[in-house]
Symmetry: C2
Subunit: 323 residues, 2 copies
């Protein structure tokens, strides 16, 4: 996606006027490395107003239905909602969460709701970077609430939901032993815990285990509430909306929102720097003796990976500072 | 972990003599950025002999028990086995997969088996990098087979199992709708698919869905077999071992192993370059006007993230090429 200065100006205008096709086009633009910088710079003055909420959890936790129900509840409160559904578990395919648009169809025709799926685009994808940019697009478009929905509980998802002010972690009863490992990993990122499919056997146990782990971890200030929901029936949705709002108020009241914003900005700058560095390595590639030569040498066992990367790093820095 | 030249020489000697405490100490050393380079360079000449197998899948798939059973089967064939169990879902805590040592206790007393857990150590962890280095340690220690076990199906896990020649993806019946998204994402990395807990309801359906997806994807040469296992009872383990071995033979016979090795080396060099760049950004931090100043400026909305990262990138490159 390449935009002229005029095209960029018009696109920004249309995004700010909340024209759905323009918003979609802008998100496509930020998904590609080349289109991201110019557009994000131009949109930046219009951002900073939306409330950004993240929702994550293991596959099968029913996050899509939950997101739909939350969006409906916010709509009833008169708020507009932008949703970015991110699927880092699709590393090679482009069409993530295909089912969502269908499953979310109830809200799909509401002009006060915008839904967009995103997926990894190969190793250089920078999905966390693109997600933060997509949030900016929806923010600039004036959506009151931007919801980031992501599948999974690994570092990818942590990086992605880092763009949110408040993070809801969704669990379900009976996901097996390894869920303990998950819980340990996501305790720190959950501001609100949702036990979805709470009509299933084992909901009491899941909630009790979660409460115990929250007791054990020395949390200060905000104690993450545990909300039970049965999303398809709308049960517990009002409580979930209330808990998310309470956390937002807590952040503002304690000034913790400033520190959180700083953390988000730091992560985002770091990701942008990483992406820029990778682009530099690849542009260096076009010259002689880049990454591919090092790959061949190490592959033939003529040099160890550390020595090769040290040499290559020096070359890249020199070439870049000279060029 | 800081090692003198003498200490390094002794450690390498002891790793090569397969002294368990030395192997453990060497893996701890490669887990920390500072200790990795010197040790990996010194071990490099002793590596390249082990057969490296990866095993991944969603939480609750029973990978630990499966890994134990595979190790036992290999041991019966007279092979020694090193296992690296990696948990990227523990982003902030150090003690990953605490339960494994207990669950794997049957093989834990066998001197022909070495087991080590690893977890993310914060944002600069470079878990994929550390895993590849740990594989080198076990390879240099002379283990015939090195097994990388990782929990999850996101980009982290893909990056981690990339260090393996052959990857087994483990699924279980009845993990819900989102499993479809997972399957789409991991189809490309699975050389062998294992439907574990195959005595559960829905195993036929899981296998059929998987077979259908494999039919749809245009795979050339190797058709990934689908093996059913019930790990605690040892059912299907012989078939799984056979399938993993067949894939290794396929790689060697077709010369595909060379291309795979190239891909592994490329991913590894890229990760090392990334880590080196991040270290440079952080060393730059100690001087005036680094990342933290940019974080403050963007946080106060005086500059957009893209402009700030461009400026900072230029500063880092200049400082590095001058210093």
């Amino acid at each position: 996606v390449s935009l002229t200065a005029d095209g960029l100006r018009v696109l920004v205008e249309h995004v700010r006027a909340r024209v759905p096709r323009a918003i979609g086009r802008a998100i496509t633009a930020v998904e590609t490395e080349g289109g991201a910088a110019g557009l994000s710079k131009a949109l930046f003055p219009s951002t900073g107003r939306a409330r950004v909420v993240g929702i994550t959890g293991p596959p099968g936790a029913g996050k899509s239905t939950l997101a739909q129900r939350l969006a409906q509840a916010w709509r009833r409160d008169g708020k507009t909602v932008g949703i970015v559904a991110v699927d880092p578990s699709s590393p090679y395919t482009g069409g993530a969460i295909l089912g969502d648009r269908i499953r979310m169809s109830e809200i799909y025709t509401d002009p006060g709701v915008f839904i967009r799926s995103m997926a990894t685009r190969g190793a250089l994808g920078g999905l966390a970077r693109a997600t933060a940019d997509a949030v900016d697009v929806l923010d600039a478009a004036g959506y009151d609430i931007v919801l980031i929905e992501t599948v999974g509980v690994g570092q990818d998802e942590v990086d992605i939901v880092k763009a949110a002010e408040t993070v809801a972690v969704v669990l379900v009863p009976g996901l097996g032993d390894d869920i303990q490992a998950i819980k340990a990993g996501i305790l720190e990122i959950g501001d609100v815990f949702i036990v979805n499919k709470a009509d299933r056997e084992g909901a009491d146990r899941t909630e009790a285990e979660l409460a115990m782990m929250l007791d054990l971890s020395a949390l200060e200030g905000w104690r993450p509430p545990i909300i039970r929901t049965v999303a398809p029936r709308g049960e517990g949705i009002a409580q979930a909306v209330g808990a998310l709002a309470s956390h937002g108020e807590h952040l503002a009241a304690t000034g913790e929102d400033v520190e959180r914003r700083r953390r988000r900005v730091r992560a985002r700058l770091q990701a942008l720097l990483d992406e820029r560095f990778r682009a530099t390595v690849h542009s260096r590639e076009r010259a002689a003796g880049g990454l591919e030569e090092a790959v061949r040498i190490v592959g033939e066992r003529r040099e160890d990976p550390y020595s090769a990367s040290e040499r290559l790093f020096g070359d890249v820095i020199r070439a870049r500072s000279e060029g």
